[in-house]
């Protein structure tokens, strides 16, 4: 059976509504999401406003507002990350010196390893993955830094505030309604209940990151979906304090993932130094995998036991953990356009991620900048379609197009996929020709396999269980609130198992099978770190009360 056979009780139309009767709050440009894309837009707008105060008057008293659902910008940001700093330096020209950017320095050296259960074979670094000139960052720290810059430029950042529904009037986006606060488990109003507000804006920029809640609703409402569905990978990572510095950026492929085509296990791991005393290690696996017993959190734990990897962490201490999905569909899965009346979509919400190069942050920043410029031009009569035009002429489009068929190639298994990817690289994307479609992650048949049989039991020193990991993410979600997770609650045991194992935060549990052969799915929403995996595999994550979720600082 397939996860898509049991769709969640959710329709994207639920996140679209007409403006309400209560007096709205007016802002100029509303940015939903305080990550690199949204903050880049806010920063760029601040610069444009400063350069032309007269035109800026059209934006009113609050020219730029940024909604952030986490406790603060950075709280929900997670990535590797090795970043191409050029777009950031260009954005911050005149506002900050290049040295001000919070980084862990340039990539010291690189290794790509093909792992087997007990060995590591060094491979030549593929051209798509060369990182010369790039820097290692914590995207969470980067977010905090960019938020400071944005605020200095005049943006108002509203933390712990969720963009709950798109306000649409006369077929145009006129703003966003924010989420309620202070509802109890059954939805009842608790003593400190605070209803969400209507925020009206001339332009709304959706920068919600992976599987943006409003972005998905917007694609549906305005028919923006591309020819191929978006697909995602789930990344689970940790940060360790280590006694010996790591001197290179490492990417691995192969073990513990299984190469045979029927498993569809595409992905790999990264190990990056963060200065001399910190290391970040993560496992990224496409959510089109088929074995219901697969747990990416446990694959990460297993990875750490490899003889080439274990010594890196020996004597160290785990200090952070987190999980988040990454859009993987690339070029062919991009929406056919990223604007609608009153609306622009940027960053991961738009799917601007280069999977073979594992890069997305600099595209997010560039798309945020271009969206800001298009929004600005719209104040003097320009059309928001100029954003799409600018994006298509940018390096973002060029890069994504060149690698457009690589990921799909891996659907044919690791070896064939590598060969095809190599071909695509060498020909700069001209071969294989055409645009190979993607298939949605939930559309693949699943089966109960034995992937989990080799996962190590958590020892509390090198390997860890999910619950203590959730704790380390800083997650203190208030549990006396309505569940924000939409899933079918009576499903075949295999699907239940898929979800139980997939979720890195142990949100799902299943009971015994009933007479109809289906199991009851129980959800513990307060564990949820809002990674989004469930949305890819048959359910739908919606945003919980603002401020809920992890409090990442080093991820």
């Amino acid at each position: 059976m397939r996860p898509s056979d049991y769709p969640p009780p959710w329709s994207d139309a639920e996140a679209v509504t007409a403006p309400g009767d209560v007096e709205p709050i007016e802002v100029g440009v509303l940015v939903v999401g305080g990550g690199p894309a949204g903050l880049a837009a806010a920063i760029r707008l601040g610069q444009l406003i400063a350069s032309d105060p007269e035109t800026a008057e059209a934006l009113g008293d609050v020219p730029v507002a940024v909604l952030e659902k986490g406790k603060a910008p950075g709280s929900h940001l997670l990535s590797g990350a090795v970043v191409d700093p050029d777009p950031l330096w260009r954005l911050l020209e005149g506002v900050r010196a290049p040295g001000d950017l919070p980084t862990y320095g340039q990539v010291p050296g690189e290794q790509v390893l093909l792992l087997t259960s007990d060995r590591a074979v060094r491979l030549p670094v593929p051209p798509t993955m060369r990182n010369h000139g790039n820097v290692v960052v914590s995207v969470s720290q980067l977010g905090r830094f960019l938020a400071e810059v944005a605020e200095e430029g005049g943006a108002v950042i509203l933390p712990e505030t969720v963009g709950q529904s798109l306000l649409v009037a006369d077929d145009a986006v006129v703003g966003v309604r924010t989420g309620d606060k202070g509802r109890g488990r059954e939805g009842e109003e608790l003593p400190r209940f605070e209803a969400g507000s209507d925020l009206r804006a001339k332009v709304t920029i959706l920068a919600e990151g992976t599987q943006g809640h409003l972005s998905l609703a917007a694609f549906d409402r305005f028919g923006l979906a591309g020819s191929s569905p978006q697909t995602w990978a789930l990344g689970v990572k940790e940060v360790w304090r280590v006694p010996r510095p790591l001197r290179e950026v490492i990417h691995t492929m192969g073990w513990p993932l299984r190469p045979a085509a029927r498993y569809r296990e595409f992905g790999g791991s990264f190990v990056y130094p963060m200065g001399d005393d910190l290391v970040t290690i993560g496992m990224v696996v496409g959510l089109d995998y088929r074995d219901a017993s697969v747990s990416i959190h446990d694959l990460l734990q297993q990875l750490k036991t490899h003889p080439r990897i274990r010594p890196i962490l020996q004597g160290g201490e785990r200090i952070a953990w987190g999980a988040k999905t990454i859009p993987e569909g690339g070029f062919v899965a991009l929406p056919r356009q990223l604007h609608a009346p009153g609306l622009l979509v940027v960053g991961d919400s738009a799917g601007l991620v280069n999977v073979p190069a594992l890069k997305g942050i600099h595209y997010a920043v560039e798309s945020g900048r271009l969206a800001a410029e298009a929004a600005w031009r719209s104040l003097t009569g320009g059309d928001l379609s100029s954003y799409d035009t600018a994006l298509r002429s940018s390096f973002v489009w060029r890069d994504l197009r060149a690698v457009r068929n690589m990921r799909q190639a891996f659907g044919a298994g690791f070896w064939r996929g590598s060969a095809l990817a190599g071909l695509a690289t060498v020909t700069g994307g001209r071969f294989p020709p055409g645009n190979n479609p993607t298939e949605s992650d939930a559309s693949h048949e699943i089966f109960s396999g034995d992937g989990a049989s080799s996962y190590p039991a958590p020892d509390g020193a090198l390997t860890f269980d999910k619950l203590s990991s959730v704790f380390l993410s800083g997650n203190r979600t208030r549990d006396d609130q309505p569940s924000h997770i939409r899933v079918a609650t009576r499903v075949p045991a295999e699907l239940g198992d898929l979800w139980v194992n997939m979720c890195p935060a142990q949100v799902y549990e299943t009971g015994p099978a009933g007479e109809d052969g289906l199991v009851e799915v129980a959800v513990t929403p307060s564990n949820c770190v809002q990674c989004g995996a469930i949305t890819a595999k048959g359910g739908r994550l919606t945003p919980p009360e603002g401020g809920s979720g992890p409090e990442y600082t080093l991820t």
Partner: protein, 253 residues
């Protein structure tokens, strides 16, 4: 009526709280947030002001310069202004130092009512309100779970080990409220957006009458004493007796 609320900005628990081995003091690096316990007196002050239809709520704090951002949340909740006493000279402040500094700032305000939260989330247990009341030479009521103000006096229903009692004191008075008194409101969006334009004053040590030297010191840190041997009982049938024996041994029965 002017109500002053004394709050403390403490390290946000997500970024972790630890003691700096070098100084022996709480490591205050990292994001600060107003202690959860201190949101209750802020909420109570707002309710009193709103019920009266007039008045001013001013929030005071002794802390590092970075505390100003944390305190802005109280302005977003609805407080009218804030005063931060911030000066390197106050590093290592203890009860005596802190009480004098706050009393110095409160002296400038001449509030009718001074509110405190019941417990500091990081320091645990210091009765700052009693110390401040002594310096101000005004009456103090602590552990207040219910508060009412009328005709120049404040009455608090307070919780002690022996039950609930009611104490009344003439204004100006100092009151410490427990977390049972109310549920602090979420700041509204309008509140958050308006907070930036509310006055946030910073005072130095000279503005509050100098620095009273701390009278206590931290000498050393150590690991907690071992919890003692952990024991295991595996035989279910004799377990109940075994548990009783253990409890008796530990003087718990």
């Amino acid at each position: 009526m002017k109500i002053a609320v004394c709050v403390k900005a403490v390290p946000d628990s997500a970024t972790g709280r630890r003691i700096d081995p070098a100084s022996g003091r709480l490591d205050r690096a990292g994001d600060l947030a107003v202690s959860d316990f201190d949101l209750h007196p802020v909420e109570e002050a707002l309710r009193l002001r709103d019920a009266a239809g007039e008045g001013e709520v001013v929030v005071l704090s002794l802390g590092p310069a970075g505390a100003a951002d944390a305190i802005r949340k109280t302005l977003a909740m609805g407080a009218d202004r804030s005063v931060l006493i911030s000066d390197d000279a106050f590093a290592g402040a203890d009860l005596v130092t802190t009480a004098h500094a706050l009393a110095g700032a409160l002296g400038r305000e001449e509030a009718d009512l001074v509110l405190f939260g019941q417990q500091s989330a990081d320091g645990d247990g210091a009765c700052l309100w009693a110390a401040v009341a002594e310096v101000l030479q005004r009456p103090a009521i602590s552990q207040v779970a219910e508060l009412s103000v009328d005709a120049g006096s404040v009455t608090g229903r307070r919780q002690t080990e022996y039950g609930y009692e009611r104490i009344r004191a003439p204004l100006p008075a100092v009151v410490a409220v427990s977390d049972a008194i109310n549920e602090p409101r979420y700041p509204s969006l309008k509140g958050i957006m308006g907070a930036k334009s509310k006055p946030q004053e910073t005072l130095g040590s000279a503005d509050v009458g100098g620095v009273q030297a701390a009278q206590t010191t931290v000498i050393a840190l150590s690991a907690p004493p071992e919890r003692g041997d952990r024991r295991r009982l595996e035989d279910g049938s004799s377990a109940p007796e075994g548990i009783v024996e253990f409890l008796v041994e530990r003087r718990l029965l």
